[in-house]
């Protein structure tokens, strides 16, 4: 018994001893493993870091230079140019729209605009004269008008007419076409007609589910908030939102600007029938600001006047950056339907007005 007990005790002692040894060994092994792992990581990682750094520093500049070819450089320049020139106008538009959202009560618009949408549309279209900006400014303003209870048809007529018929644009047109006041008149009539017809078309056939109505977001105080805080929140949100889509549109426009050589146009200058739709498509892809498009139209001297009128009527209403902005504000389903319908109406009205006036 005693022996076996002693043995037992010894066994226990031995087991403790072994446990301790195993534990010690384990810590040692762990330590060694840690060191080895650290070494391996340091060596492998360091080696690969050095390798990457070497490769990048040797190949990087040449690779970057290879990628930075003249077309790529021109793309970046046109891209940043469109974004930069859009910023002041976008800011103006978002300041106006945030001010409408925060400081102008709803009843002002219900009082100003006729109750009947059929009458409200031409009034809103003519009101486009007062916003001296290009097309980047009008989208946020139209959005905030809708939030303030203006009928979508009327707000859309304003959206289309504002960039096309404001005084800055009309003066630019008269400078670009010296001695041709009929061009200015034709532009005013054709643009206003397109805006009003599109408003009526929306009032008659438009479906509200196409339009993702810009929800009210009045800042920190809930949907009906007003005052400076709501103004700041609206301004900040609208500018960032529309700015993102402006950049998207600028990228698309720069891509077309670089990818489509303008010499392609020479193939089509002969026939008036092809010239009108061609310049109308060109207006969509070039995204020239509405305050400058008259100068571009004037320089396309090989084309008939009606085709150049179509270029100036379509440009402020349908172009890639505008489609991107509209898709962001009102939803993609709306932007696609509305822009394609506007394009057809704008081309038709330019042809009719051109035939009548030019």
């Amino acid at each position: 018994m005693a022996v076996s007990l002693r043995e037992d005790v010894g066994g226990t002692r031995q087991r403790h001893y072994w446990d301790r040894r195993v534990q010690n060994q384990r810590t040692v092994v762990d330590g060694v493993r840690l060191v080895v792992r650290a070494l391996v990581y340091a060596v492998l990682g360091g080696a690969s870091l050095i390798a990457i750094a070497t490769v990048v520093s040797v190949l990087g500049p040449t690779l970057a230079l290879d990628l930075y070819t003249p077309p790529v450089a021109a793309w970046w320049t046109v891209f940043t140019a469109i974004a930069v020139q859009g910023v002041p106008f976008l800011l103006l538009g978002t300041v106006v729209s945030a001010a409408i959202g925060a400081f102008v009560p709803e009843r002002v618009f219900t009082k100003l605009l006729p109750r009947n949408p059929a009458l409200a549309v031409p009034v809103a279209g003519a009101a486009g004269v007062v916003l001296p900006g290009c097309e980047c400014a009008s989208v946020p303003v139209a959005g905030s008008l809708m939030r303030r209870g203006v009928a979508p048809a009327a707000a859309l007529a304003f959206l289309l007419s504002a960039p096309a018929i404001n005084p800055v644009v009309l003066v630019a047109t008269s400078i670009a076409f010296p001695g041709q006041p009929r061009m200015v008149l034709a532009r005013l009539v054709a643009s206003l007609a397109t805006a009003v017809v599109m408003g009526w078309l929306w009032a008659r056939f438009g479906k509200d589910e196409w339009l993702r109505m810009p929800a009210s977001r009045g800042g920190d105080g809930g949907p009906d908030a007003s005052g400076p805080r709501a103004f700041l929140a609206g301004l900040q949100h609208d500018f960032l939102h529309a700015g993102g889509f402006l950049v998207l549109g600028a990228a698309a426009a720069a891509t077309f600007n670089i990818a489509v050589p303008r010499s392609v146009l020479d193939l089509f200058t002969g026939t008036a029938l092809a010239a009108v739709p061609l310049l109308a498509v060109l207006a969509v892809v070039l995204c020239v600001c509405s305050e400058a498009d008259a100068f571009v139209a004037a320089s396309l001297s090989a084309f008939p006047l009606t085709a150049r009128l179509a270029f100036m009527v379509v440009g402020p209403m349908v172009d890639l950056k505008l489609i991107a902005l509209q898709a962001g504000t009102f939803g993609r389903a709306f932007a696609v339907r509305f822009s394609s319908a506007t394009w057809v109406v704008a081309v038709t009205s330019s042809v009719l007005v051109g035939w009548w006036l030019l």
Binding site: T77, T80, V84, F239, G244, R262, A292, S299
Partner: protein, 252 residues
């Protein structure tokens, strides 16, 4: 969390800083837009920076007001309600603004040059043959390439005859060894650039995209207003390399 919260403020500051960097602190904006836009750009840049700072301060107040603001949801940011894909972080598409902003801050893209000039057929200004106002006094008289070109092709009074003119532009090459002094015209931004050019004779061609000031006399060719009169020709007496001017484009 904090980072997400401050996203809009950072974006506004970045955009404002980029605009100010190319307008207020340098003349780089002339590579992208015409000179008249500068005051509006400066005002916009300052406004964006102020808006960014205000947004950051308001966010901070809201953050501290919530006792550390550990939750994103349940906080009364009304953006969360209406199916837009963004909340307190602001609209996600807005992050695209970092592309042009960082490009302007770090590597401002160069002015358009011979690549753009060569891609589109140089266009003649739309006008008929007629008389032009008298050229200013001075010998040589400083002209823009566009002015030289339209006087050479359309001036029934032939005001260029017997005058020595001086123009500045970059070099582009034509077929069979001809070369041109070329300048782009921008009326609003670089996206609407159009080209005008004049052929230079009597001196060897510098490399493409070199900026030069050429002095010489008009070499009449073709019938006024016809295609044969274009591009106009200059018999150069001197060709001098110059630095790229601050405004790389000509105004209309």
């Amino acid at each position: 969390m904090r980072r997400r919260r401050y996203g809009p403020a950072v974006l506004l500051l970045l955009t404002g800083a980029a605009v100010l960097r190319v307008t207020l602190f340098s003349d780089l904006y002339l590579r992208y837009v015409q000179a008249g836009l500068r005051p509006y750009l400066i005002v916009s840049g300052v406004a964006l920076v102020l808006l960014g700072v205000t947004t950051a301060v308001l966010r901070r107040e809201a953050y501290e007001g919530e006792g550390g603001g550990h939750d994103e949801e349940g906080h009364g940011e009304p953006d969360d309600h209406h199916g837009h894909s963004h909340g307190a972080a602001g609209p996600r598409v807005a992050w695209l603004l970092t592309l042009p902003a960082l490009a302007l801050l770090l590597f401002p893209p160069p002015a358009l040059g011979s690549y753009s000039a060569g891609r589109e057929a140089a266009q003649r200004a739309a006008q008929g043959v007629g008389s032009f106002p008298a050229l200013p006094a001075g010998d040589p008289v400083e002209l823009s390439v566009a002015q030289f070109s339209s006087r050479a092709i359309y001036d029934s009074g032939r005001s260029l005859k017997g005058r020595t003119v001086r123009m500045t532009g970059f070099v582009t090459h034509g077929d069979d060894g001809t070369w041109y002094v070329t300048r782009l015209l921008v009326s609003c931004c670089a996206a609407d650039a159009t080209t005008s050019k004049a052929e230079v004779r009597g001196d060897d061609a510098p490399p493409t995209d070199t900026w030069v000031t050429v002095t010489g006399t008009w070499h009449p060719k073709g019938k006024l207003g016809s295609d044969a009169a274009w591009p106009p020709v200059l018999d150069a007496t001197s060709v001098r390399q110059v630095k790229q001017p601050a405004d790389p484009y000509e105004k209309r």
